[in-house]
Amino acid sequence: MTHLDEGQLHGYLDGQPQDGSTAGRQDVERHLAECAACRARLEEERGVRDRARAILGTAGPTGLTAPPFEAVLERAAQRQASRSRVRPTVALAWAASLALALTVGWYARSLLQTEAWVGGAGEAARAAGAAQGEMRADAIQAAPPARRQLAQGAPARDEPTQPPPEGTREVASTAAPAVQERPLANLAAAEAKVEQDTRLAPVRVTEAPAPSAVPQILLRRQPRAAAPELAEDVWVTVPPAEAERRLGGPLATIPGLPSLGTSVFGTGLSTVTRTIQVLGPGLTIELVQERTAAPMRERAAVPAAAPQAGRALRDEPGLSVTVAWEGFSVTGRALVPADSLRKLLSRLSRP
């Protein structure tokens, strides 16, 4: 046997088996018995080992007593508790991110379609845009400049809805220009929403659009000259038959969708109904129906709406499309692409 190497010597000193290439403890002892040189080296290495151990021994806390094991268990319990608090948050954040992505994507898609529709809506829409002063025709077709303008022009989301100034009231109360103007306004609203959503924390996306914003806006459009009997400022939930009686005509609903109820505001010619129907899980469409004072075709020629009306509508959540139906104007509002909304509104019928 050749001389022992340092590894073997230290392994021997440490009482550790030297498995691997070289022999075990007996072989080492056999060699040591007949090799004085290795015996000398063994003692040398023993000195190194003891010295190293002594050096290390001076450098640390010794004589420690362990705190009770319960301290560990308690800490683990706390960890468990905080983890179970954290996990749903993480899951929610993930879901919120997904919701954000879907929402933004959906809006972006519907914006393109809305623009296309606006582009095809003819001179009235362009005139409306021109009347707004800040939205040029090219801006209608090219989304990014429009978005930039809107980002500057759109009011903050938290800003309370301002009642339209006196001068704009009559414009707002005539439905036809609104029909032409709404896509623009909704484009603005949607654009602004996309702008805002991308800045907001993801959780904000999960907030359902407040439906109460709608009656408020309509309420302010209500004070017409021909509505002296408008006494009560409340929405009343009524059966469909009663809604039709108050409207004096058929109630517009989308067939095949479950209804969450209809409420009525006002009386006589200024009666407004609001019907909520379920499109899917967490997704509703709101139908606001009111009598149109004049045939829709005539209305299309009415001069474009003032910018203030558009600004007020910008606060409306979701997208809305207004159609003429059975002598009424019906505004549908839902967080769905504009073309889907129009398709839904094309199926209006009585309940």
Binding site: D5, E6, G7, Q8, L9, H10, G11, D14, Q16, P17, Q18, D19, G20, S21, T22, E45, V48, R49, R51, A52, R53, I55, L56, T58, A59, G60, P61, T62, G63, L64, T65, A66, P67, F69, A71, V72, L73, R75, A76, R79
Partner: protein
């Protein structure tokens, strides 16, 4: 068979704190990391609990060293002022002052990472086989590595005068 972590804790704690102390060089933090080690070990049922504990501890210490190098240095400077009272409170050092600890630390710093790890693990009571598993070295290489590490430590320590910076010259 479930591991009785309470028993492992009692038998391992002191070695573990010592092991951790030589990595983070802070008695309080070493004890904190030792507890943390067991918190993380509780859910597991390893074949060799003692080796398992040291594996966790080594990882914790590594993470800690990565994230807190600057803070550590700062702490050491602060501690140097008040360490006398502190260390005796912390756990009954055998009267060695901070200079002594710093000297050992500097000597250990001269070792290669692998040599140092093997040396500290052995000092913490792990067997060659356990050290081999933890460091990914061959079992037959532990003796050689340990021999080299011990020699370097002794030499490096001997070169450290209680004041001079000469010890910085040689690097393993």
């Amino acid at each position: 068979m479930r591991v009785d972590w309470a028993v492992v804790y009692r038998e391992t704690y002191a070695d573990l704190v010592r092991f951790l102390h030589r990595k983070v060089w802070d008695a309080d933090q070493a004890q904190d990391l030792a507890q943390e080690t067991f918190v993380r070990a509780l859910d597991h049922d390893p074949e060799n609990p003692r080796a398992f504990v040291f594996t966790i501890a080594a990882n914790l210490a590594r993470d800690e060293a990565r994230t807190a190098i600057r803070r550590k240095k700062h702490l050491m400077l602060i501690k140097a002022d008040s360490a006398d009272s502190r260390d005796s409170r912390d756990g009954g050092d055998r009267g060695e002052g901070p200079e002594q600890v710093a000297a050992v630390r500097r000597a250990l710093d001269q070792l290669s990472e692998r040599d140092r790890e093997v040396l500290l693990l052995w000092d913490a009571g792990l067997s060659y086989a356990e050290i081999a598993r933890q460091t990914d070295l061959k079992a037959g290489a532990i003796g050689t590595t340990l021999a080299r590490a011990r020699k370097k430590l002794v030499e490096a320590y001997a070169r450290i005068p209680q004041t001079g910076p000469k010890a910085q010259e040689e690097q393993g």
